[in-house]
C-alpha cells in the first residue's frame, strides 16, 4: 500500500475488495457466549437455579435471530435491528406465507450468501400463539409451558425442538451480515433441558 503511494506520489491509497454483493452489513456485535449448565450447579436453591437457567436461555430466545420469526403481528422482522420484513410478508394460514408470496419464494433450505438471503429447511414463522416479540421473558416463559401456546408440545418435544430442530439451529449459523445467537445450539439445548429438570420456574417479569 505504502509502496504504491510512494510510487504514485499520492496522498491516500486504499485497498478495497469489490464483491459481487459489495455491501456494508450491520456492524457485527462481538460474539457472546453462553454459560454452561455446570456454571449453575453452585446455585443451591432449586427455584433460583431454575430462574438463572431460564435467564441464560433467554439470551437466545430474545435474540433477534429468534424473535424475528416469532412476531406478535402477522409480519416478521428482519436483521439485527429487527426492522419490519421488506418486502411485506405475512405468516399466512400455515406459517409459510401468503398465496403467491410464500417464504420459499425467496428462502431456500440453506443460506445463500451471494444474495444475502438466509435459509433453512422448512423456513417459516412461528404461529401467532407462540409470538414472543414485545413480551417479557417471564411472559415468554409461561407461554412456553402452556400447551395451548407452545404448539401443543410436551417438555420432551420442547427439549428436542430447542436442542435439535434445524430451523432453530439456523440461529447459530445465520449467514453473512447477521449476528449468530450466543453460544451453540447444543449448549442452548442443554440449558433448556436443565431448566426443565430444575422445575421450570419462570421470572415474574
Amino acid at each position: 500500500m505504502s509502496g504504491s503511494r510512494l510510487a504514485l506520489g499520492l496522498a491516500a491509497v486504499a485497498a478495497v475488495t469489490i464483491g459481487a454483493a459489495s455491501v456494508r452489513t450491520g456492524a457485527a456485535t462481538p460474539e457472546v457466549g453462553l454459560r454452561s449448565v455446570e456454571d449453575f450447579a453452585g446455585i443451591e436453591n432449586k427455584r433460583e437455579r431454575s430462574l438463572a437457567l431460564f435467564a441464560e436461555v433467554g439470551k437466545v430466545i430474545q435474540h433477534p435471530r429468534c424473535l424475528n420469526c416469532h412476531p406478535a403481528g402477522e409480519r416478521p422482522s428482519q436483521g439485527d435491528a429487527m426492522t419490519p420484513h421488506n418486502p411485506w410478508v405475512v405468516r399466512g394460514t400455515d406459517g409459510f406465507g401468503a398465496p403467491g408470496m410464500r417464504c420459499a419464494t425467496c428462502h431456500s433450505e440453506a443460506n445463500f450468501d451471494p444474495a444475502r438471503i438466509p435459509g433453512a429447511p422448512k423456513w417459516h414463522l412461528a404461529p401467532i400463539e407462540m409470538a414472543w416479540q414485545g413480551k417479557s421473558l417471564g411472559e415468554i416463559c409461561r407461554q412456553i409451558k402452556d400447551h395451548r401456546r407452545n404448539g401443543g408440545m410436551d417438555m420432551a418435544r420442547l427439549i428436542h425442538h430447542m436442542g435439535e430442530d434445524e430451523l432453530v439451529g439456523w440461529g447459530w449459523h445465520p449467514g453473512a451480515g447477521r449476528t449468530p445467537a450466543p453460544g451453540t445450539q447444543k449448549q442452548f439445548g442443554e440449558l433448556f433441558k436443565a431448566w426443565t429438570e430444575s422445575g421450570t420456574a419462570c421470572p415474574k417479569a
Binding site: 491509497v13 455491501v23 456494508r24
Partner: protein, 717 residues
C-alpha cells in the same frame, strides 16, 4: 415551421436518405454523411416504412423507456396517413442527428425534458401526410383517376366512383418512387380519429412486454460474446492506483481482466463468473481527490451557504424591506441525493472489428454516445452505428452529458481488442452506489405575511450543478444553471417583493438530471412554503392560491382538480386530511390533491391522489394517464423512503433493501382528469411527479405531522 420552405428532390432524398423507403431498411446513420438540411419538407422515407404486407413501420427517433413515445409517435403518423392501427409498428431510428435531431436540443438526437411528442408533433404529422399523398398519387396514376377523387380510411385507398380499392402494400413500392411533395395539408384537429381519442390506440409494446419477448440490452447475445462487469472506485473522485487480478483470473469462466479509465473490467463467459471474478479482484484506489464528507457534513455546508447571498436569478421589489414587515415565516427544506435506479441497470452491447463499431443499448442521447464511442475507438462517428434498444426505465439516468456508459462500453471493447463482442452490465449495487444522483439540495425560504397578504418572498437555493462543465453548459447564462432554480425563480403567485438566488456547491460526487430535474425540489419548496404562508394568512389552500394566480392554465388545472376531488377545505375529516399542490414543468401544468391519514405506525398513509393535467393536445390520453400514475408513484416512493446517504463519502445504501422503492401496497388510488386544450402538445413523462410530494406534505401539516423539512419523510436514523 419551415417544413415547406425548400424542396427536396427525390434524388436528394435517395442519396441522403439511402432511401428509405417504403419497403427497404434504413442503413445505419453514419452512412448518411453530410445530408439533408434541417429545413425542408419532411421526408417520410426517414420515418415511415410501408411493407408489401401493408404493415406501416414508424421509425422512432426517441427512445422507448416506458414513457410511450413508440405509441405516441406512431399515432401521429397513423393519424395523417389514415393507417389501420392494427398494421402499425414502431422501430427505433439509427443514430443520425441530421435526420433525427430533437428540435429542442439543436442538432442532437436525444430524448429528455419531456419533449418527445412536443418536438415531433408537426414533423411526424407532416411525414404521415406526405406518405399519404404519395400513396394516393401512386394509386391515382395506376387507376388513371384524379388524386382528389380518392379517399383513405383505415389503411384502405378507395375510389368510390369506380368502387376500386387497395391496401397500402399494393402501392408502397410505386409511392416510394414518387417525389416527396413539397407541401402537404394537415388534418383539421376536429377530424382526428386517433390523436386525442381515448383508448382508440393501444400501446404497441404491451404484448411483447407481457410475455417476455421484448428484448432489452441485457438480453443481447452473440457467439463469442463476453460479459463484462467493472470494479469501480468506492468513493467519488477516486481513481485506480493498481490492481491484482491473479485470483480473479482463476475463476472458471473468467477470460480477462483489464484496466479502464473507470475502473477494472472483468471479462467472462457469463454474468455469474464475471461477478465471481470481480469478487476476487483486489483493486487499490487513489483517493487523494475523493469526496470524504458524509451527507450530514455536506448538508451543514450547504446550509451555511444558504445563509449567505447567492447569485440572484430573479428579483423584484425590496425583499429585505418587505421581510421586515408583518409576520416573518421561515422554512428550510433539505433534499437528499437520489439514485434513479431504473429496473434495468445500465448496460450496453458492442461489436467492433477495428474499423467499424455497432453498439446496441438504451442510448438516450445518441449523438453524444456515438461521438464518444468514435473518440474512444479512434474512428469516425460515421463508423459507429447505434441501435437504440428498449430501455428498462431511465428517469434521466441514461441521458448522460458525459456519455460515461458509452465511454466505458467502448473502452471495454477496445481493451479486449477487435472481434470480441462485449456486453457490459452494471449490477444494482453498481447502480445505486455509482453516483450521477439527483443532487443534494438545500432551500432556505423566508416570507412575510402582512394584513392577510403575502408581502415578501425570498428563496435561496444551494446545490451542485450538473450542467456546468457538461456539453449542455450553453444553457447557462451569467453563471446561472437554470435547472437548479426552474420552478422557483418564477412562481405563479403574486408575493409582493420577490427574490430567488442560488449557490453552486462543489463536490466530486457525480450528479445528473432526475425525472423532472429541478422541479424535484423546487416544486416541493415552493408549494410547501406557499401553503404555509396561506395557512398563516388564514386562507384556504385552493382559493388562496387561485387569488394570487395570473396564469390561466395553472388556475385551470387547480380548479379542475378541486372539482374532481370535491374540495371542501383541507380537513382533516375522519382522520383524513387533504393537501394540494400545482406545478408547471416542461410547459405542462399539473395540480394534485392528496388524501392522507396517519397510519398505525405513525407514518403518513396516502389513500388517494386526484390529478388534473393540461398538456395541450393530449395525443394519447391513456398514455398521459399512465405517466401521471407512474409519476405519482415514483414521486411518492422517493418522498417517503428514498435517500442515498454518504458516510465518509461512501454511499451507505446499495440495493433495494435500503434504497427503498414504493411497492404495490403503498400505491394510492389515482384519478386523473385531462383538461381539454387545443394548445400544442407538451410533455408528460416528468410533469406528473413534482406536485405529489408537496401535496402529501401539505396534507401532513393538517394532520399535525408538519410539512417535513427534510426528505425523505421516513428516515432511518
Amino acid at each position: 415551421m419551415g417544413y415547406e420552405s425548400t424542396g427536396l428532390s427525390r434524388r436528394e432524398a435517395l442519396s441522403t436518405a439511402g432511401a428509405l423507403v417504403i419497403g427497404l431498411s434504413l442503413p445505419f446513420g453514419g452512412a448518411r454523411a453530410q445530408g439533408a438540411p434541417q429545413a425542408g419538407p419532411v421526408d417520410p422515407n426517414a420515418f415511415i416504412r410501408i411493407g408489401a404486407d401493408d404493415s406501416v413501420t414508424v421509425i422512432c427517433k426517441h427512445i422507448e423507456m416506458g414513457q410511450g413515445p413508440y405509441t405516441g409517435l406512431a399515432t401521429l403518423v397513423a393519424e395523417e396517413l389514415d393507417a389501420d392501427w392494427a398494421q402499425v409498428r414502431a422501430e427505433s431510428a439509427p443514430a443520425d442527428a441530421k435526420i433525427y435531431a430533437n428540435f429542442n436540443f439543436g442538432v442532437i438526437q436525444g430524448t429528455g425534458g419531456s419533449s418527445a411528442m412536443a418536438n415531433s408533433y408537426d414533423q411526424l404529422r407532416h411525414a404521415g401526410a406526405a406518405a399519404r399523398a404519395m400513396l394516393v398519387l401512386a394509386a391515382a396514376q395506376s387507376w388513371g383517376v384524379q388524386p382528389a377523387t380518392l379517399s383513405v380510411e383505415k389503411g384502405v385507398i378507395r375510389h368510390a366512383p369506380s368502387g376500386r380499392e387497395a391496401r397500402f402494400g399494393q402501392f408502397a413500392a410505386a409511392a416510394g418512387r414518387l417525389p416527396v411533395p413539397p407541401k402537404v395539408t394537415l388534418k383539421d384537429p376536429a377530424s382526428f380519429r386517433l390523436i386525442g381519442q381515448d383508448r382508440k390506440v393501444s400501446r404497441l409494446d404491451s404484448v411483447a412486454k407481457s410475455n417476455g419477448s421484448a428484448r432489452f440490452t441485457i438480453d443481447m447475445a452473440a457467439p463469442g460474446m463476453l460479459t463484462v462487469v467493472v470494479a469501480r472506485p468506492p468513493c467519488f473522485g477516486a481513481k485506480l492506483a493498481s490492481f491484482d487480478a491473479a485470483e480473479a483470473l482463476k475463476v472458471k469462466g473468467v477470460v480477462a481482466v483489464k484496466p479502464l479509465s473507470s475502473g477494472v473490467a472483468v471479462y467472462a463467459d457469463g454474468m455469474w463468473p464475471a461477478l465471481k471474478g470481480r469478487g476476487k479482484l483486489v483493486a487499490r484506489w487513489d483517493e487523494s481527490a475523493a469526496e470524504r464528507r458524509g451527507s450530514e457534513e455536506m448538508v451543514e455546508a450547504w446550509r451555511g451557504l444558504a445563509g449567505t447571498a447567492g447569485t440572484v436569478v430573479n428579483s423584484h421589489g425590496d425583499v429585505d424591506a418587505a421581510l421586515g414587515q408583518g409576520d416573518l415565516v421561515e422554512a428550510e427544506y433539505i433534499f437528499p441525493y437520489l439514485a434513479h435506479a431504473p429496473m434495468e441497470p445500465l448496460d450496453g452491447y458492442i461489436e467492433w472489428d477495428g474499423k467499424r463499431a455497432n453498439a446496441r443499448f438504451g442510448s438516450q442521447i445518441q449523438t453524444l454516445d456515438q461521438a464518444t464511442i468514435a473518440k474512444v475507438l479512434g474512428i469516425a462517428p460515421q463508423a459507429v452505428s447505434i441501435e437504440t434498444l428498449l430501455a428498462g426505465g431511465s428517469f434521466g439516468r441514461r441521458a448522460q452529458g458525459n456519455a460515461h456508459l458509452a465511454s466505458e462500453l467502448a473502452e471495454a471493447a477496445k481493451a479486449i481488442g477487435p472481434g470480441r463482442p462485449v456486453k457490459l452490465v452494471w449490477t444494482r449495487e453498481d447502480d445505486i452506489m455509482g453516483g450521477h444522483y439527483r443532487p443534494l439540495f438545500v432551500h432556505r425560504l423566508r416570507g412575510s405575511v402582512k394584513d392577510g397578504a403575502i408581502a415578501g418572498w425570498s428563496n435561496t437555493i444551494v446545490g451542485q450543478s450538473f450542467i456546468k462543465g457538461s456539453p449542455f453548459e450553453a444553457m447557462m447564462k451569467d453563471g446561472i444553471d437554470p435547472t437548479m432554480s426552474e420552478g422557483a425563480s418564477e412562481i405563479f403567485y403574486r408575493t409582493g417583493a420577490f427574490r430567488c438566488d442560488v449557490h453552486i456547491a462543489q463536490s466530486p460526487v457525480t450528479t445528473l438530471w432526475w425525472r423532472s430535474v429541478g422541479h424535484t425540489h423546487t416544486g416541493y419548496a415552493v408549494e410547501c412554503f406557499i401553503d404555509q404562508l396561506l395557512e398563516k394568512a388564514g386562507q384556504d389552500p385552493v382559493a388562496g392560491r387561485l387569488a394570487l394566480m395570473d396564469n390561466s392554465r395553472a388556475a385551470g388545472v387547480l380548479k379542475a382538480v378541486a372539482e374532481l376531488a370535491g374540495w371542501n377545505g383541507p380537513g382533516p375529516v375522519n382522520g383524513r386530511a387533504r393537501g394540494v399542490a400545482v406545478v408547471e414543468s416542461f410547459r405542462s401544468f399539473v395540480a394534485q390533491i392528496a388524501e392522507v391519514s396517519k397510519g398505525a405506525d405513525g407514518l403518513p398513509k396516502v389513500h388517494k391522489i386526484w390529478c388534473a393535467v393540461d398538456v395541450g393536445v393530449a395525443i394519447n390520453p391513456d398514455v398521459v394517464r399512465a405517466q401521471v400514475e407512474g409519476g405519482i408513484g415514483f414521486g411518492l416512493g422517493h418522498a417517503l423512503f428514498a435517500e442515498v446517504p454518504l458516510e465518509a463519502g461512501i454511499p451507505a445504501v446499495a440495493n433495494f433493501d435500503k434504497y427503498r422503492s414504493l411497492r404495490i401496497h403503498e400505491m394510492p388510488e389515482v384519478e386523473v382528469v385531462i383538461v381539454k386544450s387545443s394548445e400544442a402538445p407538451t410533455g408528460i413523462g416528468e410533469p406528473g411527479l413534482p406536485p405529489t410530494a408537496p401535496a402529501v406534505a401539505n396534507a401532513m401539516a393538517r394532520l399535525g405531522l408538519g410539512r417535513p423539512s427534510r426528505l425523505p419523510f421516513v428516515r432511518v436514523a
